[in-house]
């Protein structure tokens, strides 16, 4: 039911986004908007999907991959690649091949780092969030540092490639990203049922014959891949996952991943496409979508803390 409504909403938003106030060359405009739309759809879906998986893997509902520094890590890996390969080689390399390597590195680092963090027996969510925030700040400071190590003249040539945002979706990667997202979704779909059991906790899950540790690692890998996709396409999107996933829990009222995951993904798509549409048609680009998301998301996070504290 909720799924149906969201699908309709998304179709409406997408149609509006594609057709509203079309001027000039129809072909050109449609192609331009189509690419943007595809990018945002992929990002919205990845963010929603990965946030719900991450919540289950970490047994709480306020951590999201971006709060834990996943997307800053990806930006750091990108910058490091440019630094070690050299600017010229980096720019010449096939974008898709590069993306593949970066995703691999990301999966490796993220799995190691967060496996270690989550496996320390620290069940304390707040410590984890704080650690994640610090890691995020550290990764971006490190990125800044590496960027400065690159020759300033060379760096200006890199900047566009490295830092995408909503208005300049990285177009080289659209097809690869789409294939990746579909592939990951299809392969991880059967896992969702087992994740319902994982959500019960380590002991119960093991008692019920589900390998808790293995599944958590596998979900973290899925999360790492999806975050790489979304960050490569539009750059870091803090808080979108938090808003979307919590809304999905409230709308579906269930713990079953087969419902919450698609709903969260669709919500992400609707939020991004609808938000961008409203911004560019009615507010005339006076601001960026990411600014609004981080404003609303920060307030919502404080509200969540408040609710937890009152409990």
């Amino acid at each position: 039911m909720v799924l149906g409504v969201l699908l309709v909403l998304f179709t409406v938003a997408a149609t509006l986004f594609m057709t509203y106030d079309l001027k000039g060359s129809l072909d050109y405009a449609l192609q331009l908007r189509g690419k943007k739309l595809a990018g945002m759809t992929l990002v919205g879906f990845s963010v929603g999907y990965s946030s719900v998986l991450f919540h289950t893997a970490t047994h709480n509902r306020i951590l999201t991959p971006s709060l834990m520094g996943f997307d800053s890590l990806y930006v750091l890996i990108q910058t490091l690649a440019a630094y070690f390969l050299g600017t010229a080689e980096f720019l010449q390399m096939d974008a898709r091949l590069r993306f593949g390597f970066e995703v691999l590195a990301m999966v490796g680092f993220a799995a190691l780092l967060y496996r270690w963090l989550l496996g320390r027996g620290t069940r304390d969510v707040y410590v984890l969030v704080l650690v994640g925030l610090i890691l995020g700040t550290m990764f971006s400071s490190l990125t800044e540092l590496v960027m400065r190590m690159i020759d300033p003249n060379e760096f200006s040539r890199l900047q566009d490639r490295l830092f995408a945002n909503f208005s300049t979706v990285n177009q080289e990667l659209l097809v690869v990203s789409a294939v990746t997202v579909v592939g990951v979704t299809v392969t991880s779909w059967p896992m969702l049922k087992q994740l319902d059991v994982v959500a019960l906790g380590d002991e119960q899950a093991t008692n019920l014959g589900v390998e808790h540790r293995k599944l958590v690692t596998r979900s973290l890998i899925v999360v790492a891949i999806l975050v790489s996709v979304s960050t490569a396409l539009v750059g870091p999107v803090a808080f979108l996952g938090l808003l979307v996933s919590n809304l999905a829990y409230q709308l579906t009222g269930t713990f079953r991943h087969r419902y919450t995951v698609p709903v969260a993904g669709l919500l992400g798509m609707v939020a991004l496409v609808g938000g961008q549409f409203v911004l560019q048609e009615f507010l005339e680009f006076q601001t960026r979508l990411s600014i609004i998301i981080s404003f609303a998301g920060g307030l919502y996070f404080i509200f969540l803390l408040y609710r937890e504290a009152r409990r």
């Binding site: 610090i134 800044e144 190590m149 920060g298």
Partner: protein, 348 residues
């Protein structure tokens, strides 16, 4: 969890056995003296690190027309002074804040003070662009003060908060304010200037452009005078009132001092993350909690830490410079991470 437990858990200062042993054998004074000597040596060395080749001999010649001497007087000495002032002022204001709010993870950068100050700076630039830097700074101070008080109200409103949730809420609060700042900066095409403010940097410090920092230095001295009163307030309202301290007045006075210091640093240097957080914690690991005793050591430690990072920023990518904020972000972040993880693994 009761409040006293929370305080106990957060207040438990844990140091590695080696450091503790060292601190016990050497008393505080010896340690402080050693630190002062070390700081003096490093400061002296820092005067001769940079793109222009300046040697002590050039300076001793005392020839004002000489290029080396001019670099020395116009750039190197002001830079050193700015670093020492900013480093000690930021660490001490972190220490005061931790004492007043009774949470050792609170500092100007985790309580929205810094973000509010940069919002104030932006507002000042937008609406009073032609006005003097002093007016802009006053606006930044007012915003920093308002932001800090708002944060304190938020903490009190949430009441039974875990010691670690307070900085978390503070960072989020700062993030919301920063989003608002970015909103206005984007709208009025000031995003680039904003990014320059947000990343602390000493490469533009010249004679005539850093002197406002002496205000921060003076305010830091004032905190020393009131140290005992701040400590009593840190023991809780009832305790403080019983001992005849005007609780509200001292609490808000202290926060006002901290806000002023942070705002001045943001206006002159830019945002430097983690300073007010890491340095006081490290110092009190070794020297304990007595504010009056710890305060000078914190000031020296902060100055030393920032100077060390700045020397790195000058030499890592010679002849270019890396903003010191990035280096402090990496080093300070690492230390903060260790502090947080350690507090929990031992505290439980």
């Amino acid at each position: 969890m009761t409040e006293s437990q929370a305080v106990e858990r957060g207040g438990a200062r844990v140091a590695p056995p080696l450091l503790l042993g060292l601190a016990r054998t050497l008393n505080g004074q010896v340690l402080t003296t050693a630190a002062v000597i070390l700081l003096a040596v490093v400061s002296f060395a820092s005067l001769f690190i940079g793109v222009s080749d300046v040697t002590p001999l050039d300076v001793l010649r005392l020839d004002n027309s000489n290029h080396q001497t001019r670099v020395f007087i116009e750039s190197r000495v002001p830079r050193l002074a700015a670093i020492l002032l900013a480093g000690s002022a930021l660490s001490v204001s972190g220490l005061i804040m931790q004492t007043l709010v009774r949470n050792r993870f609170v500092a100007p950068s985790t309580a929205g003070t810094m973000s509010s100050a940069s919002l104030g700076l932006l507002v000042g630039t937008l609406w009073f662009g032609s006005a003097s830097i002093f007016l802009k700074m006053s606006i930044a101070v007012a915003f920093a003060m308002a932001g800090t008080v708002l944060f304190l109200a938020l903490v009190q409103w949430m009441r039974h908060m875990d010691i670690i949730v307070v900085p978390l809420a503070g960072i989020m609060f700062g993030g919301v304010i920063q989003a608002a700042t970015t909103f206005f900066a984007f709208k009025y095409d000031l995003l680039q200037s904003l990014n320059a403010w947000l990343n602390g940097d000493f490469s533009g410090t010249l004679r005539g452009r850093y002197e406002l920092l002496y205000i921060a230095g003076a305010l830091t001295l004032v905190t020393y005078i009131f140290a005992n009163r701040f400590m009593l307030v840190g023991m809780g309202r009832e305790f403080a009132v019983n001992l005849g301290v005007h609780y509200e007045r001292v609490l808000y006075g202290g926060l006002c001092l901290v806000s002023c210091v942070s705002a001045v640093v943001v206006v002159v240097v830019g945002v430097i993350p983690f300073m007010g957080l890491v340095v006081p914690n490290l110092v009190s690991m070794v020297m304990g909690d007595n504010l009056r005793r710890v305060l000078p050591a914190t000031a020296i430690g902060g100055a030393f830490f920032l100077l060390f990072c700045d020397i790195l920023s000058r030499t890592l990518r010679y002849p270019y410079e890396i903003p010191v904020g990035s280096i402090v972000g990496v080093g300070g972040g690492l230390l903060f991470l260790l502090l947080v993880l350690r507090s929990r693994s031992v505290g439980r």
